[in-house]
């Protein structure tokens, strides 16, 4: 296992209470520039600028702001999914084509996004961000991209990570997406 800090994702697909697919833990590639800008601002106690999810340049005001937990139905904060397959770039500021919350065609129901209390072993520290996406749209939806939206306390919303991943979510299926942030000695 690599020492340092790494971001992974893992997902489950379930239907009628049964998990029928469980992915392995996969390494992400894609903290984007706003992650570094906000982390640098917090460590430096400085008001860095970043591009929010509306493609507007913003200046950090409060500096405690990696807020990721979100209520159900909120598709602009927390872990998010989309159908875009444009290659990830360091300057990405939003998903290419986000899937909206809802039960209409092409929509998924977003549950609350939770951040679990970190767990530790002698050599690792692990933080898990989880969210369920339920397909009640009446059709199959193919997720092609995943990401994490954070907010500061103004609030401005910004993307900190984006990855491409093809996940077929049939009607009636629940997608559980887990982001795993892990530090290893």
């Amino acid at each position: 296992m690599n020492p340092g800090l790494n971001l992974y994702y893992q997902y489950n697909l379930s239907k009628n209470g049964k998990i029928y697919k469980k992915s392995r833990k996969r390494k992400c590639h894609s903290f984007v520039v706003a992650f570094i800008q906000n982390l640098g601002g917090m460590l430096g106690s400085a008001k860095n600028t970043f591009i929010d999810t509306g493609n507007t340049s913003r200046t950090e005001y409060h500096l405690n702001d990696f807020k990721t937990s979100a209520n159900s139905g909120v598709a602009y904060l927390g872990s998010v999914v989309g159908t875009g397959n444009a290659a990830v770039t360091i300057n990405d500021y939003k998903l290419a084509t986000a899937i909206a919350h809802g039960s209409g065609a092409g929509q998924l129901l977003y549950s609350a996004c939770t951040v679990a209390i970190p767990s530790f072993t002698d050599t690792t520290g692990t933080l898990i961000v989880s969210r369920l996406f339920t397909n009640s749209s009446g059709g199959t939806i193919t997720v092609e991209e995943i990401g994490i939206y954070c907010k500061d306390s103004v609030p401005y919303y910004y993307l900190i990570a984006r990855d491409l991943s093809t996940i077929v979510v049939t009607d009636g299926t629940i997608l559980t997406l887990n982001y795993i942030i892990q530090t290893t000695l």
């Binding site: 570094i36 917090m42 460590l43 430096g44 360091i90």
Partner: protein, 195 residues
């Protein structure tokens, strides 16, 4: 394979303006449990318990609005003046880094007395980005005016919480960095993310 968030360090030693030694960037290994707890607190908005630099558990909630705003309201702040209480710190201990570390093994205190180093300010550069990576640097200069030689063996990063207290978030054992009397030691931490 690169980490998603790479943490590296390097150092240089100078005698006046003359460069004595400089090394290339080396990979760090040692985010402590306080790092994960801080990240959890900021991401979740929930209460956390962290162990401060004196070994005391401290429970609090990261809530920017309750701090009233302003430039100092960072849960990760490491910028510091001439103090060894927080910022980039050094020590003489050689105990292996552990995830539960909350203090330096044997910290070197700010000053000009025997075994002490004068701590400059800890600065954090503005982030910069290329097409594939984004990065920033944390730096501090330590000057040896103690009258004797000092061997630095460990380095770390201590943040200042707005709610009060100092928390070790990174610690690494470096091997011996010999800083002779009259020399200065510059330590850099680089945090980089790469697509």
């Amino acid at each position: 394979m690169k980490d998603n968030l790479e943490l590296k360090w390097n150092y240089e030693i100078k005698q006046g303006n003359k460069l004595i030694k400089r090394i290339r960037l080396k990979k760090c290994k040692s985010f402590t449990s306080n790092w994960a707890q801080t990240l959890f607190g900021t991401m979740s908005g929930r209460q956390v318990t962290m162990t401060d630099f004196s070994g005391t558990p401290v429970t609090f909630t990261f809530n920017a609005s309750s701090y009233g705003g302003g430039a100092d309201n960072s849960s990760f702040r490491v910028t510091a003046g001439a103090t060894s209480s927080y910022g980039l710190v050094v020590g003489t201990g050689i105990t292996a880094a552990a995830i539960a570390d909350y203090a330096m093994d044997t910290q070197i205190i700010h000053g000009t007395g025997a075994g002490q180093l004068s701590h400059g300010t800890t600065t954090v550069s503005s982030p910069s980005a290329t097409a594939t990576e984004a990065t920033f640097r944390i730096t501090r200069i330590f000057t040896n005016s103690s009258g004797g030689d000092i061997n630095v063996e460990e380095i770390g990063l201590v943040n200042l919480q707005v709610g009060g207290g100092y928390f070790l978030i990174i610690r690494d054992v470096t091997g011996t960095l010999a800083v002779l009397n009259g020399q200065s030691l510059t330590i850099n931490y680089d945090l980089t993310t790469t697509i």
